[in-house]
Amino acid sequence: MSVTPVLAPRRRRRASDATNWPITALAVFVAAVFMLPALWLFSGSLRPTSEIFGSLYPLSWGVIVPKTVSVDNYTALFAGTFGRAFLVSLTVCLLTVAIGLVVCVTAAYALAVLEFPGRGAAFAFVVISFMVPFEAIAIPLSQLFNSWGLTNTLMGLVLPGIGNGLAIFNLRQFFRSVPASYREAAKVDGASEPRVLFGMYVPLSGPAIVNSALLIFLGQWSSYLWPLITVSDPKLQVAPIALAKTFTEHFADYGQNFAGAVALSVVPAVLMLVLQRTFGALGISSGEK
């Protein structure tokens, strides 16, 4: 017997659904202002380091527009260790999201929906877990992982990113706004808890799951201190560390650094766009406004 989630019916398009062009202009303006520093970063990545600094004064379009556009920074960067590190990062992060989402979704469901003694304490446990700054526990954790033989392993990089208290919290908030009647109806029909969770709650939680996936992904993607101290094998090192190596003791290659920063930002940005497009429409009542 299948459980059919009750989705709000999509509204018919009305005349008042037409695009609001003045507000669009405002949105474009706000987005442009926000993007200005990022644009400078991008244009810096297309120039050699000396031109980045040589073009700063006096104020002119030359600050943003490069004199000569070249992808040398990118080719040099990816030809070095950054290329491999980029792939390692991708692998680690996708693995973390895949495992982490399952772990966090199930935990959030238990905390939001199921009734059991100690629920409050378990939730407090989850919240407190993300309040301790990672730098404070990095070295004790690395000693732990070292004794478990997890240094220089892929799982050693993935594991700390799986139990993401913030993602659990986010999902729990969302699950709590799903009307309890849906679950009750499903239970009456004889559905088991996993069935309710994966067959009903998950399809209704597109946006929340997308956001939590981004949360887990970005947390792992930007992770620096942890890979630094648990991985000594250069073949397993991750992208942010490779990026830091554009600054050596005697020369800071800003051009390559900016190129790496752009490369690293493209992945989560595009991921966000794609995930929102694909899954963002699934929801309790995601009508157009």
């Binding site: 980045i52 040589g54 070095g80 304490a121 070292n146 000594s232 830091a244």
Partner: protein, 439 residues
Amino acid sequence: MRRTPLVLGALVVSATVALTGCSKGGSDGAAGGTDWTIPEEDPTATIQVLGILDPVKEHMQEVLDAFKKDHPTITVEYEYVPFDDLNSVLDARMANKDGNPDVFWADQPRTAALATRGYSADITKQFEPYFGAWDPAPKESSTFDGKLYGVPIANSSQLLYYNKDLLDAAGVAYPSADPENRSTFEDLLPNIQKVVDAGAENGFVFGQLDRYYQLEPLSVGLGGSAGATGDGNLTPDITSDAWVKALEFYGKLAADGLMPRGITADQTDAAFLAGDTAYQIQGPWLLPNLATSDINWGVAAHPQFADGEAVTPTGSWSLALSPFSDQQQAAAIFMKWMSVDGGGQYAVVRPDPELPASPEGKKVYFERDMFQSEEGKKAAAIIDYETSKTAVPRLGTVGYVEFEEIIGRAYSDVRNGADAKGALEAASAELETAWAAYK
């Protein structure tokens, strides 16, 4: 049911503490002690080396390949970490107390600090036969309490670079390249003003802005101490007249617009290579970059104060042996090869120029390409003079880490406009607190 959450919580916490309890500890203590010698025959071993040089970009790989040729039975696993992260990585690795790394890059002024923390092993006995191979200053810097804790692989000095085009545009004479008759800061000041008035973006820049390495000569040149006195150099001495005068000079340069605010030490070379800066004090490592740029550059001797002494920065890296190393003898062979053999193979073999810590190495160094141009020859003569006559090592103290950080912040505050005396007094108080742990 209020007790259940507490019971659950206690169970979880005790389980995790039990987990951590039985996994901490690892291998305990030093692997070999100090009573061993460097063998005549190479053992077959693998050693881990932790360094801050990029194998490809900074050509460390060539060095490792050369070692492999000379010592085929010893395999070196070299780990490269970003320069800013060396200390965090070292902390984490040392906490594991295993043999990774066996050898690591150690900043010479940190010798005492590393030794007292138990990070580096006493290698006096093993390297005593080779003490004569090194220049006295780098060797002293690698020694603490009469014992050797590191082998120097490099040294450093500083030159005054200038942009000839910017100076010509202001009608200003070039500073003197003769170390015996060097320019004084007092002479330079009006010239810097002229250059700035003629449109140079940055008049005068210390390459390593706000860093003790770079700015120590200002205080010591005026007669001040290296920064501390007393037993073990643990009594701050940065509020003397010389120190205050030196920092007032530094702050005034910025306040008068002759030295920029807001730019960091990482950005100074890029600015000079972009043609933004008229005068810059920097190390010899800028020479290869200048050769490939289109800057019309010249080189002069590090300036001094008119009523002071000529003092220049010095010191660089040593290699230290981890007390937890499980391959001490192979590690020592590597260290000897890098710092002693043939003048120190590290500096001799490495394509990127590095000022060696030995007289024999320096001979080879001055034959490098970058010293063959007209300005290059002047640079070579200046470096030779400075390393022999005017180099002053940094403060030797167990509390060096705290000192370098705190004084760095004082320099930065003064450059941004803080009163020199006030900043130094605050720094002195902070040092007293920080050094209490060592007394």
